[in-house]
């Protein structure tokens, strides 16, 4: 399940990058971005990227040549992590700067981090000065900050005419300054409110995508309302399952007094442990082994460690006798031990458990190779 891996890794990557983005200096190159370019960006952005690259060919001027490559990689950044674009984290921009290595001035604003609204206001001023024909469609990319404004100014009208034909998308291009330069989509408003709203919407749609991968049977549903419906149903069913299982656990009477100290080596609230239950604990270790083998490696690894601690020498003679009973009670499809009512109920529960356990298992298997984990 390739698709599962990348988005969830990106979720954790998001958090990790937010954390490290705050600490990194602008200008440092971040090689971490590149692995995610391949995975996530390629899946979702190929058509857009190629379109953009194709259009870039029509742009003249040496200044644009450098930007071409950066655009490509920056597209991935910005589209994969739109909320980084929206936030005032300049290292993304700074990374682009280092990659590009253009000679444009790091002027007074390079040290300060300006707000996006201010950026928008400035762009509005600039665009208001020249013809406002294109402005409803696109914001112009700013190439300088303050110093050296004269020479690029002259070039800008020409570039505007060329670039107005772009089928553009969001793109933080600014190599030189610390602004977050955003290029609005064609036919969309560019004021700060709608931008913020668009960013918010994209964030939500990103989360919905993750949830879509998580909730089984959601891959076909596309609308937000339908997705939310499925999520609600799934959460409700999980909660009902917990209720049901706690009821069943309550019915298992008496419950075993598992010696927690030997299991985990941690503290024990209730120090009194019945001696009568100890031989039963010895038995349970074997059971634990076998039952969890059936459920797959998930729980198996967990309980193997604990069962080693519990293993007692007198278990083995009993093993041969108990095998048949064990086999019968762990048989999913039919069991002679249970009466029919209990069997049906148990069978359903097993299937439910299988249903949740298996995607859970695949999730686990795909996530394990990733190095990034969210801090808990």
């Amino acid at each position: 399940m390739q698709c599962l891996r990348a988005p969830l890794s990106d979720l954790s990557a998001l958090e990790g990058q937010r954390a490290c983005a705050e600490w990194q200096q602008p200008g440092q190159e971040q090689s971490d971005y590149h692995p995610y370019d391949a995975d996530y960006c390629m899946q979702s952005l190929c058509p857009v990227e190629t379109a953009f690259r194709a259009l870039h060919g029509c742009n003249g001027g040496g200044e644009n040549e450098n930007h071409g490559n950066v655009h490509g990689s920056n597209d991935c950044f910005s589209n994969a992590w739109p909320d980084i674009v929206s936030s005032m984290h300049c290292p993304v921009v700074g990374a682009a700067a280092s990659v590009e290595e253009t000679s444009v001035n790091a002027s007074s604003s390079s040290s300060s981090r300006k707000r996006k609204s201010e950026n928008n206001r400035r762009s509005k001023e600039n665009s208001g000065g020249s013809d406002g024909k294109d402005d409803s469609n696109c914001k112009r990319i700013k190439e300088e900050t303050g110093v050296g404004a004269a020479t690029p100014e002259a070039k800008r009208p020409n570039k505007r005419k060329e670039e107005s034909a772009d089928a553009s998308k969001e793109n933080d291009k600014a190599p030189k300054s610390d602004y977050i330069h955003v290029r609005a989509r064609r036919g969309q408003a560019t004021d700060s409110h709608s931008l913020a709203e668009r960013v918010r919407r994209e964030r939500i749609s990103q989360r919905m995508k993750y949830l879509q991968d998580l909730v089984p049977g959601c891959s076909k549903i596309t609308g937000k309302a339908g997705m939310l419906d499925e999520i609600i149903n799934y959460v409700q069913s999980l909660q009902r399952q917990v209720e049901f299982l706690s009821m069943k656990l309550a019915a298992v009477n008496p419950m075993m007094d598992i010696n927690i100290d030997s299991l985990f080596g941690g503290r024990e609230i209730n120090p009194t442990c019945k001696s009568a239950s100890i031989p039963m604990i010895g038995m349970s270790s074997e059971l634990l082994d076998q039952s969890y083998l059936q459920f797959g490696s998930l729980q198996h690894d967990m309980f193997m460690g604990s069962s080693d601690l519990l293993l007692r020498p007198n278990v083995n003679p009993a093993a041969a006798v108990s095998d048949t009973s064990l086999g019968s009670c762990l048989n999913v499809n039919g069991s002679s031990v249970w009466n029919t009512n209990l069997q049906n109920v148990y069978g359903v529960e097993f299937q439910l458990g299988r249903g949740t356990a298996l995607p859970f298992q695949s999730l686990q298997g795909n996530l394990l190779p990733n190095n990034l984990k969210m801090e808990m």
Partner: protein, 195 residues
């Protein structure tokens, strides 16, 4: 969130500690009582194993609203209990300038007047968001995107809880069966010897 072995381990440990603390196996209690105690310790174990998240805080706050749970919670959580009950920072309102808020509301309203088409879709989504807020613990004070975040986390933890409880159940039941069969053996042996 990644469901790691450490998480499952901590979860199981907390749950078993909880069972011990509420003495479900030793005390003689009614069926409903026992079931509630088991569910309580399972939920608390899930919250404790996950750590500090909005939904975990909401869950513990919700559980502590009932008096009978409070002693158990205090026992399990210790000093963390008091700190968890304090209102968390995210629920505090961000101080915003009224003029700016009014201006942005006016703009949004003007835009809404223009496009009436999406109203139905929006109300549907709104309804469902409200429903989801009710389901996810602590959801009332969350906004759209963080709600989805917390739901993601919560679903993963719920799944882990279900798996854990299921495996516990099979262990207990299987070993109970075994103990029954074992008990029958010595009887047969005894009768054989006597013959």
């Amino acid at each position: 969130m990644q469901v790691t072995e450490a998480f499952k381990h901590a979860f199981l440990k907390q749950m078993l500690l909880g069972f011990q603390a509420s003495a479900v196996s030793t005390k003689s209690m009614g069926f409903q009582e026992r079931k509630n105690a088991i569910k309580l310790s399972a939920d608390v174990a899930m919250a404790v194993a996950r750590g500090s998240r909005k939904w975990t805080r909401g869950l513990i706050a919700g559980l502590s609203e009932e008096r009978q749970n409070r002693s158990f919670l205090r026992l399990i959580l210790g000093e963390q209990y008091e700190s968890l009950l304090k209102p968390c920072h995210s629920s505090w309102k961000i101080p915003r300038c009224k003029k700016i808020v009014r201006r942005s509301l006016r703009i949004c309203w003007r835009k809404q007047k223009k496009n009436q088409s999406g109203v139905l879709a929006r109300t549907l989504v709104e309804k469902r968001t409200q429903e989801l807020k009710r389901l996810v613990p602590g959801g009332k004070s969350m906004d759209g995107s963080s709600l989805l975040d917390e739901t993601l986390d919560y679903v993963l933890s719920l799944r882990a809880q279900v798996d854990l409880m299921q495996s516990l159940l099979t262990t207990f039941e299987a070993s109970k069966l075994r103990s029954h069969s074992k008990r029958r053996l010595p009887e047969r042996k005894a009768s054989y010897v006597s013959k």
